[in-house]
């Protein structure tokens, strides 16, 4: 008790923006290490609900009050809310602060999360968390690996200091765009896998969809200044493999529903703000502008915009000749 008190006195506070599943689990993990937290969420009750009873954690009404002067800020909000949150956060920020974000998806126009943060705030020291982070497993204190990508070595040092002692192990990368594209695209691929499952396609088809998805993601990453090899790492392949097994993913379920009852399911998913839908459509428009093939992304976009049924779209992709050279050429 005394030890944790001393630790909490010494550790610099961390601000957490958002009160979703990821925010809560990361917050609790940090609290266990005695890291003082300042929490802000659009939904104050939610923030209060999980910080209640923790002396080192405080829920704030004002995002500026929560984040001003805090060296490390963790952003765990949906992509749809990111720009608005960043705009509200901006007045709290100065150049020496670090923002770590776990935001998945892209804005319409294929704008990546770090680009939103750069456009709205003065902070340049940005890190993105990617890879197979599963809140339930982290909550159960199981060892977990994630990627932390930043152009700044200082960000990696700060992030490691924050998670020290937790079961979370951070693997560093410099490819911010690559990790963000990987995170956004794995939701699209998982939707396609959900569709394949609903259509009772065989395992070969699933293998092909995953590989094709990685290739498409690599092409997109390179067109954003990222590296194709990132997709072969923890943020790409490593992120794609575990989830379908656990069938935890919301995107997987959405894919299944769309394949079975397309129109209703699409309307429903769109209303629920499933980011994979936006990503697929934005990526297709981006691919048109940059002359990229990305057949699987195009197929998913065609399905979610109601152009063709899932079965037809997927069988078109599966019929294409697969050229691994395409991946290596990226």
């Amino acid at each position: 008790m005394v030890l944790s008190f001393v630790a909490s006195r010494e550790a610099a506070p961390v601000a957490i923006v958002g009160a979703g599943r990821l925010a809560q689990v990361v917050g609790r993990t940090l609290l266990q290490q005695g890291v003082p937290l300042r929490v802000w969420s659009r939904n104050r009750e939610q923030a209060e609900a999980w910080t209640r009873g923790h002396a080192a954690a405080s829920a704030h009404d004002d995002i500026v009050a929560a984040c001003a002067g805090v060296p490390v800020i963790i952003l765990a909000v949906p992509i749809a809310a990111l720009r608005q949150v960043a705009r509200r956060l901006a007045p709290a920020l100065e150049g020496d602060q670090v923002i770590l974000h776990g935001v998945r998806g892209v804005e319409p126009g294929f704008v990546l999360p770090h680009q939103v943060l750069r456009a709205e705030t003065c902070v340049q020291q940005i890190g993105v968390l990617g890879g197979p982070i599963y809140p339930p497993e982290l909550a159960a204190q199981r060892p977990m690996s994630a990627v932390l990508a930043s152009r700044f070595a200082q960000v990696v040092i700060a992030a490691r200091a924050v998670v020290r002692g937790t079961p979370l192990r951070l693997h560093d990368s410099r490819d911010v765009a690559g990790v963000e594209v990987a995170g956004a695209m794995s939701n699209v691929v998982r939707m396609a896998l959900g569709m394949a499952a609903a259509l009772t396609l065989d395992e070969t088809a699933r293998g092909l969809i995953m590989t094709r998805g990685l290739c498409d993601a690599a092409e997109l990453a390179v067109s954003c200044g990222g590296e194709a090899s990132t997709l072969m790492g923890l943020a790409g392949l490593g992120d794609l493999i575990p989830r379908p097994v656990a069938t935890l993913s919301r995107h997987y379920d959405v894919g299944r529903q769309i394949a079975v009852a397309s129109a209703d399911a699409i309307t429903h998913a769109d209303a629920a703000g499933v980011d994979g839908l936006t990503t697929a459509v934005a990526a297709t428009a981006w691919a048109d502008r940059h002359g990229l093939a990305v057949p699987l992304v195009r197929a998913v976009a065609a399905v979610v915009t109601g152009e063709i049924p899932a079965g037809e779209a997927l069988s078109q992709v599966l019929a294409l000749n697969f050229d691994p050279g395409q991946f290596l050429a990226c």
Binding site: D96, A119, C122
Partner: protein, 538 residues
């Protein structure tokens, strides 16, 4: 002033030496290895050099270093390194005669104006020399007031696009007209070939950069000297493109080494609590309707990759008569040279306001010092600082594209090259440029129609703030634009780029067409001229 110069030089030498000594003590490369690298780079460079007294001296020095490398003690190595550094430092700026510098910094810009105006005797007779033809020719626009205000608040780094060797002359005149002191800048050794302009450049604050020298020690001395001048409050001029654009296109890749000295100087200023620590980086975009060295530059670009020369010493700039012809024809055509001063920024890429305070994307004031702080302390961090400088580079490229002033020659070259490609669809572009196509002339009506289409697209880009247009393009009719471009293209270049005969336009120099056309690349205009199907002229 001479004392100041000597102090800067001594300061730079001391810093370079102690950085190597400290690095070596911290487990970095030994001084012996640093010297060995220099010996290798220099002896390799000297192999390709023509015989001269300079070469003899260099060879003697580096051979001496080589023989000492394996014998001397650590103290001897340190002494040897300091000698090598001193040699480089003297070469970089030791030739500057400060008396002439002082005289010239007061005299040169008006004298330059007189000189340039004198090349157009007709105008000299009708207008006063100081506010005469040159004032009409050089249009200074953009954030000029902002720049002038910042001059009193901190130190400026002017970062212009590089089109021609006349850039530094034109910018020196602009600085004079804005009431700014002359800029310190690095000029390639090859520029001193033209005796007349060498006199001006040498004495307008230019220090020497020998781009043939690849030795990291040399580059370090150069950067440290630039940093020292910035810390002393001398505004600098860097061409971040490194060299003149060969293709005629805007810069798309920048050399960030020298640019990074701004951040280094800023950090040191803060650490030493200097009174005016701020450094402002100001993107500047130059636009010429005709370019003096266009032929040499584009020829060099079109040579096979790898054969092109990074340093050209025998171009049009080396012939005073060519410069005379060029300027007098430019003035006779009432041509314009646009200098567009962009939004000034701090060494982290943030915009700054009139008072020199950094702003966030929403215009809120932020403390620039915080960008170089770690846990409340100001410190240099090479990795972080390189990222900041990369950001500055990206902002510069955006500014260049937005402030690029397109003129009639660029637009019409774009149109005619598009027509040329369409008329010869079976030829790949490089082949078309080198060997020519079957059809090389077009009816004027066809050129007008295509120009009209392009103008509509360009005006759209201008409204969106993505590019600037000269008044002729912004408001003029297509036929006037074409007429203005053809009169430019028919004069200075030999043979002319294109000539008009009756109602038909004949292409004469395809490579120059390509050169001027390239100023429009990067704006997504590729498909604009594909839309209307135009009739071929038989």
């Amino acid at each position: 002033m001479i004392r100041k110069q000597k102090r800067l030089l001594a300061d730079a030498e001391g810093r370079v030496l102690s950085s190597y000594v400290a690095a070596s003590a911290a487990g970095g490369p030994a001084l012996r290895d640093v010297l060995a690298e220099s010996v290798y780079c220099e002896l390799r460079r000297l192999q390709t050099q023509d015989a001269s007294r300079e070469k003899q001296n260099d060879l003697a020095f580096w051979h001496m270093v080589r023989t000492q490398l394996h014998k001397g003690s650590d103290a001897a190595m340190r002494h040897l390194l300091s000698r090598a550094i001193h040699r480089y430092a003297v070469e970089v700026c030791g030739n500057m005669n400060m008396r002439i510098y002082q005289l010239m910094s007061r005299m040169a810009p008006p004298a330059l104006g007189l000189l340039l105006n004198a090349w157009s005797p007709k105008k000299l007779l009708t207008q006063s020399w100081q506010h005469g033809a040159l004032d009409d020719t050089i249009i200074l626009q953009g954030e000029t007031e902002h720049l002038r205000r910042l001059q009193g608040i901190g130190t400026i780094i002017l970062a212009p696009t590089h089109v021609s060797n006349l850039d530094s002359v034109v910018l020196a005149f602009a600085a004079y007209r804005l009431g700014l002191p002359p800029f310190v800048y690095g000029a390639g050794l090859n520029l001193f070939g033209n005796p007349l302009l060498a006199l001006f450049m040498h004495n307008l604050g230019a220090y020497t950069v020998d781009r043939r020298k690849q030795d990291p020690l040399y580059k370090n001395v150069l950067k440290t000297y630039a940093t020292a001048t910035l810390r002393a409050g001398d505004s600098n001029l860097f061409f971040p493109g490194g060299t003149r654009s060969r293709s005629g296109a805007l810069e798309h890749h920048l050399k960030l080494g020298l640019l990074g000295t701004g951040l280094a100087a800023y950090t040191q200023n803060i650490q030493e609590q200097r009174p005016r620590p701020s450094i402002f980086i100001v993107p500047t975009t130059l636009s010429f309707q005709l370019v003096l060295e266009a032929e040499t530059l584009i020829d060099d670009f079109l040579k096979d990759v790898g054969k092109s020369r990074y340093i050209i010493s025998d171009d049009e700039f080396a012939e005073p008569s060519r410069i005379y012809d060029f300027l007098s024809q430019l003035m006779a055509l009432e041509s314009k040279i646009y200098i567009t001063v962009g939004q000034p920024m701090d060494p982290f890429g943030n915009r700054v306001d009139d008072a020199g305070v950094s702003l966030d994307p929403h215009g809120r004031r932020v403390d620039a010092r915080r960008f170089v702080m770690v846990q409340g302390k100001v410190c240099a961090d090479p990795q972080r600082d390189a990222e900041y400088t990369r950001e500055v580079g990206a902002r510069l490229l955006t500014a260049y594209a937005q402030d690029n002033v397109l003129q009639s020659t660029h637009a019409v070259a774009y149109v005619v090259l598009a027509l040329l490609r369409r008329a010869n669809p079976d030829l790949e572009q490089m082949r078309l440029l080198r060997a020519g196509g079957r059809v090389e002339h077009f009816a004027l009506t066809e050129v007008y129609r295509a120009t009209e289409v392009l103008l509509t697209a360009l005006r759209g880009l201008q409204r969106a703030g993505r590019v600037r247009l000269a008044p002729a393009l912004a408001f003029g009719r297509a036929d006037d634009v074409v007429a203005d471009a053809t009169s430019h293209f028919a004069t200075y270049h030999r043979p002319p780029v294109m000539v008009r005969q009756g109602d038909v336009l004949h292409v004469r120099q395809r490579s120059l067409l390509f050169y001027y056309h390239n100023r429009l690349t990067g704006y997504g205009l590729e498909h604009v001229l594909d839309v209307p199907v135009l009739r071929k002229v038989g």
